[in-house]
Symmetry: C2
Subunit: 639 residues, 2 copies
């Protein structure tokens, strides 16, 4: 038997209240893997382009993978894929926690949901079965209330709930879905898709641990990792001690901490919002994802000046950067409160922070008035204003109603003057990393079909000496042999980006965490291949996994092409071509000509034609000629 | 240290009588590996296009690799790369035996030779040193006499001699180079290049076994292979018992044994020339390459009707097919004699057999007369005529002088009527496998920059049930998951060809034998990666090795593009579009439209533009942007 792994997928039609199970077979699993790739497969196959993302015609896929749920570090993730109400392109968002493993234990690799329920419902998936259950009594509730009610009424405190809060119900375009109250599928507005379908939550519980071809190898790698991961690796120690918040200071010291809506990369009060400060003050503990000893997710608690509920976890780097420095906010407790509200209401902390930062700049420039904000003094640095605006966004109150549409739509409403403050690509807000400092981010943001995303490829570490182990252990097996100047976007950087992008997209498709691999030394690509082989029985290789990543990239791109996105959408906001205002990288900016050249080179490298459409040859190479046929049918290949 | 391996290259200028050693460094070795890739690197870097292949300006490179000479099965090969006097494109030819390991033991990974000696010389490479020695006394001698004289005068019977016979001296355009009298760098006429440089031989002897990063792993894989390679594998048993001659019967039974200049694929006297018959009659023993227990190379001996000297080894499948069935010859001893003469005079058995088959068809059609042949009755099936013609070619006597130019030039001389019998691609004669039966051969022959070559990608086994283990062990780690219909050339076949072509070109560059891997089960890609890693210390992967193969393909292609070859040259001779005349595949032919489509799809897949030129993007991806600059400089990118 050449493939090994086989599994089941749950199909749900909410309009009809129907469910069924399908077994797509071994070839399917090995070709599409899970996560991002499995998700976009169903969207390309079963949905027409042009549907309203908030209509019943949209499809939403929750996907683990052939390997998720294995008892090894990093195999705890899962993916939501849908058409994004924020961008109109693909929604593709990953989360850690327990949901991916739990649906696997319940007998499913993925759940594909169509239609719209007449009344609020939640889905209850348990030990090979599924029920659609009434959710009228939890509609309007927070994620915490939702989880509590469901666990109570089903009588099992260990049920994993992935649900939305009021933001999703209110169709905030960047509403997210949250599991275990602190792990979010943050980006692209999939919470609003759930809201539009009257789907409040998916609750999962299963008792069947997945069979593995070679259990001993899996356990032995996991044990080795657990015993050794803290040794010799600055990255691991930082992640374990501070979570990703440990990156705040290095980012600031190297001049790339987004500050005041990306006006600058240096925040003079960074220490106040650092991982170190968090550890010294509000930090309670780390809380792991399934089977992972890294515990990069943190729990915080505070009573003053805001009461912060530890159930909702603590802020990650992105949250601190976007709701903190990017809003000029230096009050760590306020940021923790903002984080708590985002997880409670179900809001993406990145887009929320970016939208508030955008609004603050508009406010300071007089484009938004105090009348618009309902009296809130929305200047940079006003922590309380930031917290209040989060509430307004979730509830679509006052200025929050406009900001709930995302910066692109808000700027369209506010007029030309506001547009230059709307930092987005394809409608997706730019996250907390600055392409003016790290060259590979120019490609990452410009090219991601889902709009600016920071998880398209492994980053250069913020602190330069960290490069060395990364270089030799992650990039090296890919044949990336030289360290490159951080800000460059020459042909060697394009190559490195393309290879690392394939690797990251393979991880997103296998639903494996980059952090289990990023702080390398004890889980390299070699062990990843060994793990995938041991779990599935596939006689696989790094070649095949890289091609899985490339296939994912090509299919995500095909989706965005099919929805009408073109070469013109692969670009950065104007601010990125203007100098950083202060700090160690003062004056640094992206060179337009070099970026144009790099993007064109990337197209050729990735096997896309001059219009940015994946060629028939590339799609055939990736064994998905049916995608080329779909693009042909939709007239996407110029005659 | 990210790279690990470093080594030395010997540079020789025969015009000046100068030599020097260079250490190109670790990045070079890991990027270009050795063999084909290392060879074409020097040609692209240091030679202008358009030089006469038989002029002093041509460069000839003898290359082992970073891994050759390791004590593991299959690591015994080496490559000669030059500009071919037969095709005017790249000469790229591999041989087993002992030469690759021996130059490594003598301290060199490769020897790069330029210029022309005033008088005949040979090169003596020994324990880190090299001397240019007079060869006047051996000029005009056979390879056997040459080897004997050199060993005697240097006083060491274990010296490895790679030399030419009279064919190379006489500039026969497909003269070959032979080591140990029986292992030939057969194709593309590199023997004539040596002849043109007055370079009779390279003699090598060294006593330094290469250092390895992890000797124990290498030895343990080698031991495991030696103990088990005969188990469970039909291929291995066949190779060990009969050599490649074991393929004669399966090829014939499946209708694809080239017969009478490819008129048909079924030879009714195949049994007479089979591996089984060889074993029962003339076979003496198997004789291994360095460190390999397979011993696929055979030794034969006969006294009548021809005296066959066992020193020159026995015929392989290709030799039997081309000098036997393709000439209609069913006399096994005559074929053994033809093989002996080819190794003695230094002639490629494939091009020699193909040229004689061509001449026989011309003779039967009245295009060549008995006068032309000096009285030889050159009809199909005349064993004695075949043997005599080999002599005439080597010595450029009578019809032999014209045939020594290869079928393309001979047909040009004989006129239009002869052209349809000249079976070549880009001037390189078609070897003993029929593209009308195996679809992947259409691409292999049409696209190889060196002209029709059968070692561009692993073949479907001749006998269909053999596919299963091949499928699961060789193709499987590349993500080739489905068996494909043998004659198809659809998009799935193009994909499989491209992936297997990269793999094979990686082997040609690492100078590793496909036969150690082809009869899989005990040396799969997984062990190959482990071996390369253990030998060199590189943290490598199958991804990197596949990319090494792709890089090789792209650079070889760039060379042929630079020499003026175009898309129009990527095609098959007309006979391949006409039905096979008899046998199990009677009527089968290549479909022109499908082949055109497959070639165009391949271009896109390989990252070549519509003119068949590797794009800047692909070359940048392969980390050889300098090749794109070279093509740009030579005006090869259409404006």
């Amino acid at each position: 038997m050449p493939f090994g792994y086989n599994g089941r997928i749950l199909r749900v039609n909410l309009s009809k209240g129907e469910m069924r199970t399908e077994e797509p077979g071994e070839y399917f699993y090995r070709t599409y893997g899970g996560g991002s790739c499995l998700g976009v497969y169903y969207l390309l196959k079963e949905m027409d382009p042009g549907v309203d993302p908030l209509s019943p015609e949209n499809i939403i896929v929750f996907a683990g993978s052939a390997v998720s749920g294995a008892p090894a570090p990093g195999f705890a993730r899962s993916c939501i894929v849908s058409k994004s109400p924020l961008t109109g392109s693909i929604a593709n968002t990953v989360s850690g926690g327990y949901f991916g493993p739990e649906i696997k234990f319940a007998g499913f690799d993925a759940i594909v949901i169509k239609g719209k329920s007449e009344k609020p419902v939640y889905l209850w998936v348990h030990d090979g079965e599924a029920d659609i259950k009434d959710a009228s009594h939890i509609w309007g509730k927070t994620t915490g209330e939702t989880q509590g009610t469901i666990r109570k009424e089903l009588g099992d405190g260990r049920i994993i709930v992935a649900g939305i809060g009021q933001a999703g119900e209110n169709l905030v375009r960047y509403a997210c879905v949250v599991n275990n109250l602190k792990h979010a599928w943050g980006r692209c507005g999939t919470g609003a898709v759930m809201g539009s379908k009257n789907l409040k939550a998916i609750a999962a519980r299963g008792h069947n641990k997945p069979k593995m071809k070679d259990r001993e190898t899996v356990l032995s790698i996991a044990r080795h990792f657990a015993t050794n991961f803290m040794k010799e690796s600055v990255d691991n120690i930082t992640l374990h001690d501070f979570g990703t918040a440990g990156d705040i200071m290095p980012q600031n010291e190297t001049g790339q901490l987004p500050t005041r809506n990306f006006q600058t990369g240096y925040f003079d009060k960074a220490e106040n919002i650092s991982g170190e400060r968090m550890k010294d003050t509000v930090l309670v503990k780390g809380t792991p994802c399934y089977a992972c000893p890294v515990s990069c997710k943190k729990v915080v608690k505070a009573d003053t000046p805001y009461q912060v509920d530890p159930a909702y976890g603590g802020p990650e780097y992105e949250t601190i950067a976007m709701m903190g420095s990017d809003c000029g906010v230096s009050d760590l407790v306020a940021i923790c409160k903002g984080n708590e509200l985002c997880n409670k209401y179900g809001l993406d902390t990145i887009s929320t922070g970016a939208s508030i930062a955008f609004a603050m700049e508009c406010y300071e420039e007089g484009i938004i008035t105090r009348e618009d904000t309902g009296g809130v003094d929305l200047r940079f640095g006003n922590a309380d204003a930031m917290v209040k605006t989060v509430e307004m966004i979730a509830k679509r109150e006052k200025i929050g109603d406009m900001l709930a549409e995302g910066v692109r739509r808000a700027a369209e409403k506010l007029g030309e003057q506001a547009e230059k403050f709307a930092l987005h690509v394809k409608g997706g807000e730019i996250p907390g990393h600055d392409p003016r400092v790290k060259g590979h981010l120019t490609l990452m943001y410009a090219l991601a079909p889902q709009g600016a995303s920071h998880i398209q490829a492994e980053h250069d570490p913020a602190f330069a000496p960290g490069w060395a182990p990364f270089f030799s252990e992650r990039a090296n097996p890919l044949g990336i042999l030289e360290p490159l100047e951080v800000s460059s976007i020459d042909h060697k950087k394009v190559r490195r980006f393309f290879y690392l992008q394939s690797a990251q997209n393979a991880l997103n498709t296998l639903a494996v965490c980059t952090f289990a691999l990023a702080p390398v030394r004890y889980l390299t690509f070699r062990e990843l291949v060994d793990l995938v082989r041991a779990i599935t029985g596939w006689e696989t290789s790094l070649w095949e996994l890289q091609k899985l990543g490339e296939r994912t990239i090509a299919m995500l791109r095909a989706f965005s092409v099919r929805e009408g996105f073109t070469k013109e959408d692969d670009w950065l906001p104007e601010r990125m071509f203007e100098g950083i205002l202060s700090g160690p990288c003062k004056g640094q900016k992206v060179n337009k000509d070099k970026l144009r050249e790099a993007i064109d080179l990337y197209y050729e490298m990735a096997g896309w034609n001059k219009d940015g459409v994946p060629t028939k040859g590339k799609l055939a190479e990736l064994d998905v000629s049916w995608v080329a046929e779909e693009l042909e049918k939709r007239g996407k290949y110029r005659k």
